[in-house]
Symmetry: C2
Subunit: 301 residues, 2 copies
């Protein structure tokens, strides 16, 4: 943890925006907030999520050391457009979108000359949404990906802007990690988008079976409950993610379909040793994931 | 909850056996326990899991109103063989196996004339194993499937035996549900075995990717953590389940592969409305699963 920036603007007060706001308030920052939804603005005010929640996005921007666009990828360009006219030269803008290829282009086109954009993605979230779901600890011990090579702005100022965004996230408890947008999107297609695709397909399968035999889901146990949680995620966000990251998601689904087919063959041929080897590789992947990222599994113990 | 049987024998003191034992002790029963693993017997004694833990399975049987074979499906026939010689006419035996077709035949052949077998399957579990993982509340509010039509024993005694097993589970906090073995295996292929197959295939996919790009898993977030939990389940148990329930599991995998392919097509054709409809069906399945089986998701909130 380090001291927060003196003033931050957060455009979008859903789960991520309101959690970041709470974390930065706790770190001593002032936060100027805004959300496109009047009801979200009203709730954010009632909950004391930000220092002040404004009626117009442009009102939140003046004096902010960092302006955070905390909206889904599909709403980024519109959000950038709303604040573009109010940004001064040298002001730093970042985002929290789940995909990164193409984001710099989409946002930068809407920003005025002299503003600096740093693409970002905090690796945290829950299946819940809205300002009421936000909590100051959401980013504690989590990583935040920044794309320094894709930072856009006046020559010579991008490095300092990346530093400023990194320090803001450190103040919220997160650890900055640098990746290129292409690497980011390939990796997250595998570790995030694919798990959601897989869960949605499973829910679709059991839902079809439930329609044919009502009551089947009342017999579900722990195995299905974990998918239920994943499939509770915001559908609009996931539609946007799948569309924005189409090719890496398709490659990940194809790689997955091959592995599932390999497992199917082991079952079809009653290959007991092959099944054990398959499960043990999964256990090894598990040990690696747990050993290297304990925080991500902690809530499920 | 109701009063427990005066005395129960539990053969196998892993997660399920030790949890049932703790629940029945709490309900006032005496429990005679045994496990094939000397180290498990030692730990079960040290933990006070049962009233007494014997050195031989046959020693646990005398006087038991119900004898519970709490071992994986693949070890059922052997466990039945160990106690067969000690059973008296009229003693009631049940199991906790994850598949039910063929179980009655496998067990009944090892039991003496006059003993009565009632196939059963409590719908509870965690990814942990062993007597240390057992807890008395594991079955509270959960269902236990019994297969009354497959109960085997002297004419006229099966009905009373099913009742006795049902009352034992009620004393442990569970709710008995009657199903045929065929229905049981089809339903659990979908709501339990398929979710595990899907999770194992996902772990295999990300593990392959991690091998090609070490460090990728350190960037995983909540989406993968749920699968990590599922893939931590006992591999021997799951190998046995997949082999014992091969055809229904293959049918479930095929149904799933079709749904995944349908989702892949929606992504490939950038069908935004189709994706929303797909996700909304998953959300509907979720609401049904949560609304009708709240206990199964409670631990993840």
């Amino acid at each position: 943890m380090s001291t927060g920036p003196s003033r931050v603007a957060i455009v979008g007060l859903g789960l991520i925006g309101s959690s970041l706001s709470r974390a930065l308030l706790a770190a001593g920052s002032q936060v100027a907030g805004w959300d496109a939804d009047p009801e979200v603005r009203r709730r954010a005010r009632a909950l004391g999520v930000a220092t002040e929640v404004f009626e117009e996005a442009a009102q939140a921007v003046p004096g902010a050391e960092v302006v955070v666009l905390a909206v889904p990828v599909g709403a980024l360009a519109e959000a950038a457009g709303r604040i573009g006219g109010s940004l001064r030269a040298g002001q730093v803008v970042t985002d929290v979108g789940s995909t990164k290829v193409g984001v710099a282009e989409a946002v930068h086109g809407a920003l005025p000359e002299g503003a600096i954009f740093v693409p970002g993605h905090p690796i945290a979230g829950t299946e819940r949404s809205g300002p009421g779901a936000g909590r100051a600890e959401l980013f504690a011990g989590r990583k935040v990906v920044l794309c320094p090579a894709d930072a856009r702005g006046p020559a010579g100022e991008a490095g300092a802007a990346v530093e400023r965004v990194a320090r803001m996230w450190q103040a919220a408890g997160a650890e900055p990690v640098a990746l290129s947008p292409v690497d980011h999107d390939r990796i997250f297609a595998l570790v995030s988008h694919l798990p959601h695709a897989v869960a949605y397909a499973l829910m679709a399968t059991v839902w079809r079976a439930e329609s044919e035999r009502p009551g089947l889901l009342t017999l579900s146990a722990g195995g299905l409950a974990d998918y239920v949680r994943i499939a509770a995620s915001n559908p609009v966000m996931w539609r946007d993610v799948f569309l924005a990251n189409r090719m890496p998601v398709l490659e990940a689904i194809d790689a997955y379909a091959s592995e599932l087919d390999r497992l199917r063959e082991l079952v079809a041929t009653a290959d007991a040793d092959g099944l054990m080897a398959y499960f043990e590789a999964a256990a090894e992947a598990r040990r690696r994931a747990v050993g290297e990222a304990p925080a991500s599994t902690e809530t499920h113990r």
